[in-house]
């Protein structure tokens, strides 16, 4: 297959970037999207050009490191697919593909397609954990947890923190990410003692990081490679209202 790639190139945080067009040919349909970038980078290196910088790690759709906008979709137009799990067979031969980084004030571009997502780390650091001393591993079932609650916590814990929700959100809001982390802990008894402090701190850190304000469009849920539901955002809202009323 062959493609015309229009890739955002930006030297560093301060530089003003621009799109550069790269024709690539001789690509197998089973090439993954990141492999396509690898192939292009090898060709760029061979002719002495600067390779395209992009984030990646597991390439198995589980670590949340990869991600950029592809033809206006965060990660991909395929449902629940990370960029590393996207394959060129999902595109048509000869297609022009526009590739740009996540765009959000809270995620500044570091280089080309790499953005700084440490705002997510700060949200977690501000409360996305349980501070009680847990001691050694407890016996299984020592704490009874209803199956529904455990399932809900697992659904929330599926979030890999890739940032596609922010990227796809018309407001660049981080509500889906933050709500998944809060819902995961609030669904389990171990998370209850700190739930009020946690939601206040995590939401405050989120707000002060420069994310936007959710308008319930649902774009985050559609873009999420793990299918995290916007129902968790309502859960976050309930937690915050509870904290405001009784906190």
């Amino acid at each position: 297959m062959q493609f015309t790639l229009k890739v955002w190139r930006q030297a560093d945080r301060e530089a003003t970037g621009d799109f550069v067009t790269y024709p690539v040919d001789d690509i197998s349909a089973d090439t993954s999207f990141l492999e396509l970038l690898d192939i292009l980078n090898e060709r760029l290196l061979a002719r002495g050009d600067e390779p395209i910088a992009f984030d990646h790690d597991c390439r198995e759709g589980i670590c949340g490191t990869c991600g950029c906008m592809v033809n206006g979709f965060a990660h991909s137009h395929e449902r629940e697919t990370t960029l590393c799990q996207l394959h060129m067979r999902s595109f048509t031969d000869g297609e022009t593909i526009i590739i740009e980084p996540w765009r959000s004030r809270a995620f500044p571009v570091l280089k080309d397609l790499i953005v700084d997502r440490s705002a997510f780390d700060r949200i977690i650091q501000s409360g996305g954990f349980i501070a009680i001393c847990a001691g050694s591993a407890p016996d299984a079932n020592a704490t009874p947890i209803p199956k529904e609650a455990a399932d809900r916590a697992m659904d929330a814990a599926a979030c890999i923190g890739c940032g596609a929700c922010v990227a796809a959100c018309p407001n660049a809001a981080a509500m889906l990410f933050t709500s998944a982390k809060i819902a995961q802990l609030a669904s389990l008894p171990q998370g209850h003692p700190e739930r009020i402090e946690r939601v206040k701190k995590m939401v405050s850190t989120m707000e002060l990081s420069g994310f936007g304000s959710c308008t319930n469009h649902g774009e985050c849920e559609a873009a999420c490679p793990k299918g995290i539901s916007v129902n968790f955002i309502a859960k976050l809202n309930r937690e915050l209202i509870r904290a405001a009323l009784w906190g």
Partner: protein, 224 residues
């Protein structure tokens, strides 16, 4: 490291709970206002009596008006704040961006909101204060029925009201379901009802309100 804690109304959730609650008050008013106005179909007596009854409430009427006005003003303030926050959050926009999930109603909230605010001002000048009278007939504060009918006989004025009610329905359609989500009233089991309720309220407001100018234009309602 100590982490900052913002007051509830300094968070975007707090502002949207504020938008939701004030929106709820305004939607409640919109429904009551429509129910009252639909008495235009029952003839001049009935509608004018109803208007006289409202005026006879005196102080209570002003309290109610105050609550609605306060709700509307706060709604606009909260909406402006969260909109500015979101605009700041994405300083450079995408070269290509594709919607996957948002409804047309959701995407037009920020356009429809200010347009509705302008319409409301015009509507107050037309039928509450009576200072703009496109029909050229004198405004009679004791003859609400004729004020309405003369107004709607002007085709472009009716068209303006009909378009505005379409915008209002769109705003309510997304607004009601969004408000329930913002205050956390969301459960997978009830979500079909949540979307059904917002569509029902939006549809009822559009149909009920648009029926009045249409009836006047069709000649079913004549000046008394």
């Amino acid at each position: 490291m100590t982490w900052p804690v913002l007051g509830f109304f300094n968070t975007s959730t707090g502002k949207k709970v504020g938008m939701g609650v004030t929106g709820f008050v305004v939607v409640g008013f919109v429904i009551a206002h429509m129910a009252g106005n639909l008495q235009v179909f029952m003839g001049p007596e009935k509608l004018n009596q109803y208007a006289a009854f409202l005026v006879s409430l005196g102080g209570l009427l002003w309290v109610l008006r105050g609550i609605i006005l306060l709700a509307a003003v706060l709604h606009v303030i909260f909406a402006t704040q969260v909109t500015l926050q979101s605009w700041r959050a994405r300083p450079s926009s995408y070269a290509v961006y594709r919607y996957q999930a948002s409804s047309y109603a959701a995407r037009t909230m920020r356009l429809g909101g200010p347009m509705l605010a302008l319409f409301i001002i015009y509507h107050l000048l037309h039928l509450t204060f009576g200072v703009v009278q496109p029909a050229g007939e004198a405004f009679d504060p004791h003859h609400v029925y004729n004020n309405v009918v003369y107004g709607f006989q002007v085709w472009w004025l009716s068209a303006l009201y009909i378009v505005a009610m379409g915008l209002l329905a769109l705003h309510i359609w997304h607004g009601v379901s969004s408000m329930l989500q913002s205050v956390g009233l969301n459960h997978p089991k009830w979500n079909p009802w949540r979307f059904g309720l917002s569509a029902l309220v939006a549809g009822a407001v559009a149909l009920g309100n648009i029926s009045m100018p249409l009836a006047v234009l069709a000649g079913l309602i004549q000046p008394a």
